[in-house]
Symmetry: C2
Subunit: 267 residues, 2 copies
């Protein structure tokens, strides 16, 4: 609103000067341009403000896990989500999650049995599929598993930079790193290659969906795998994921770190 | 950024006209005012944008439960949080949570044993303490339990309108309503009176912190009480709270609804 007020003030000020001057030397000013400015833009700005408000509220509901499973982003939020992703906000949010996770990791007193674990999801947590989603409306299109598989099979997803930093940090601190992804076993080789090429190495377990897991909700599949870790005596100190289904369920981590993702939802 | 661009364009346009005119009739314009405008405001706007970005990112981290326990809001976010609360955003976010919760409540198939429960937290969930926090910097001051108790003892906290709507809706649908609050047993009478005066009635249990619960983390205390509900055969279908400590832990609800709260954090 402050920007709007400054804008209107400046516009009216220009207009006032324009009026004053028109009387003096009307040939100088392209006056209609100036007059049309506020009249044309004020409703536009109001609409812009309203969409910003609504879509920010929607995004909060996404990140606080208040929404029912959703298949695509609201039409009216298409520009908003794209701006969020390509602007500074997404990077800022991701950096913050990694920094918070890093601070917490440093505060954990590790046992000397090598049983302290950090669990990482893969997609939109370690690897970014933005090159794919930028071609598919940043969540505006319903997920197309055939098209997405083609992208996965290229093996060219780049690392999320701050996640790579966190990844190396927790390894250096002595945590075991377990990767727990919703990707299928049949994509294991290409995903391993993709991860290595993007700088991720030295994980201790790499868990993908096996034939028994297909059709299971991600929360169920991931909880079952975490239960196994706990049964094997591991302590899950941290868990990083962009979906609540990475983080909630049973054998939850001591602390979870929810990376932002306003593009898609996995139940 | 669009607003900023329009603003800069208009400012430069004004400046250009100003320059053009100064050559023609320099006595007419209060020229320094015009020149100073963009120079003075551009950094201000940038700073405003940066604070908006940072504080939005901080608020997301709060709502996604990514932050360590915090005692007060960041100094630089004081205006941001106040604007969020007194502007449209807070109301919009709260309405959305209640609407989502209501839609979900309607979708639940209740048993005929009267064992389906909706759990509500009290502060910043059913009752609003904004009249108190507006006098205490909206989270900028460290929590003062003595001062806050004085406010509680007045018993004048208003209802959050959309929570009252949800409350009545779940009762009408046949859920039992259990109130589970971090308030102390010694505030039971005044809180009951406050709730009734604000329109909340017909709850089935009202659980406050007893003498054994003081000093327990909210997550522990609330989990223990939910465990008891489950042991008594109740099914917790929904849980509404403004703190993650209302929602996480054991015997978690089938679905949880996180109301926004950028003012304070309870571990």
């Amino acid at each position: 609103m402050t920007i709007l007020r400054i804008f209107i003030f400046l516009a009216l000020f220009t207009l006032a000067i324009g009026n004053e001057n028109e009387n003096l030397n009307s040939h100088v000013f392209p006056r209609p341009l100036i007059i049309e400015y506020p009249e044309y833009n004020e409703p536009q700005l109001k609409e812009y403000d309203e969409v910003q408000l609504k879509c920010t509220s929607w995004r909060f509901a996404v990140e606080a896990n208040n929404l029912s499973p959703w298949k695509k982003i609201p039409e009216e939020c298409a520009d908003y989500v794209r701006q969020y992703i390509v602007g500074l906000s997404y990077k800022m949010d991701i950096d913050r999650v990694s920094n918070e996770a890093g601070d917490y990791a440093k505060s954990v007193i590790l046992g000397d049995d090598g049983k302290d674990v950090w669990v990482f999801d893969v997609d939109e947590t370690l690897l970014s599929n933005l090159p794919y989603y930028s071609d598919h409306g940043y969540g505006l299109e319903v997920f197309d598993s055939v098209e997405f598989d083609k992208w996965v099979e290229k093996g060219t997803a780049p690392a999320l930079e701050s996640s790579l930093r966190l990844y190396q940090e927790v390894l250096n601190l002595g945590f075991k790193v377990f990767l727990l992804t919703g990707r299928s076993e049949r994509h294991k080789n290409v995903t391993v290659e993709n991860l290595m090429n993007s700088g991720f190495r030295d994980w201790d377990k790499f868990i993908l969906r096996g034939s028994d897991d297909h059709g299971k909700a991600a929360t169920t599949y991931k909880s079952e795998r975490r239960n196994e870790m706990v049964e094997e005596g591991f302590r899950i100190a941290g868990n990083s994921g962009d979906q609540w289904s990475d983080l909630l369920g049973s054998s939850m981590s001591n602390r979870s770190f929810k990376l932002p993702n306003p593009i898609y939802y996995i139940p």
